[in-house]
Symmetry: C2
Subunit: 130 residues, 2 copies
Amino acid sequence: MTNDLMTIRQMCDAFDVTPRTLRFYEAKELLFPQRDGTRRLFTRRDRARLTLILRGKRFGFSLEDIRQILDLYDRDGSNHAQTLRTFELAQQRLAQMEAQRAELDVAIADLKAELDAGSAMIAGLRRAAE
Amino acid sequence: MTNDLMTIRQMCDAFDVTPRTLRFYEAKELLFPQRDGTRRLFTRRDRARLTLILRGKRFGFSLEDIRQILDLYDRDGSNHAQTLRTFELAQQRLAQMEAQRAELDVAIADLKAELDAGSAMIAGLRRAAE
DNA sequence: CGTTACATTTACGTTAACGTCAAGCACTCT
DNA sequence: AGAGTGCTTGACGTTAACGTAAATGTAACG
């Protein structure tokens, strides 16, 4: 079986992050590796948390958002209200992302239109430059 | 007819930007207002440029990108190669935006899936918190 | 002339998520 | 002992696009 404790390098290789990132996450209290003297040893719990952190980032959550969510469960892993809170955050984030996509769609459509229209944009630039 | 020269406040009202923004754009050499003593007076040319700047921002261009494009036409308003260059930049930006939208679509789909699947994410968070 | 209302320059502050040194300890191999 | 490798803790640097505050000017109104 895989050793339960991993060095910083093993973590970096396994999750494709830099040592700086792991130390940064520890400083931000997202991870809590054990110590062997001065060296960090990451536990199964750290790996589970890191997995969630990276997933959260893919969803566009900030590290601070993620830390808060993780903390909710640190302090009370069985509170149903906390679970609901997490759902709410996820829903909010989803709404944000969809709004962002909508804006992006408009911008893409506009830009395409200008390119297709025979360079209205270019003409505009000409005028702006005199 | 509208006065050809506008004060900073008239510009702010007309374009919905702050004075700081206009001064910032001048510092970045995107605008070149005239002076009445110490005060700025924005010309028709400045207004045309600002319109393009704001349009460029909607498309996600950085101010530096915009400045470069504008400069191309400042230095040579009739060079066909410059026009092509602008097209290229626009096309690149379009490709970026579409890639970004694709990523966003994946993230949205993933997040929806986790929410719909009966909180796989929540379960993961529980485990990560122990 | 005093106040009000805008204007100006200068310059530090903000935000996120790390990057990039610098200096030094700990172990191992030879 | 010396060399090499890897880990550690600081601590400042980076990026974009302004925000914000301080000190000052000046134009018009009454």
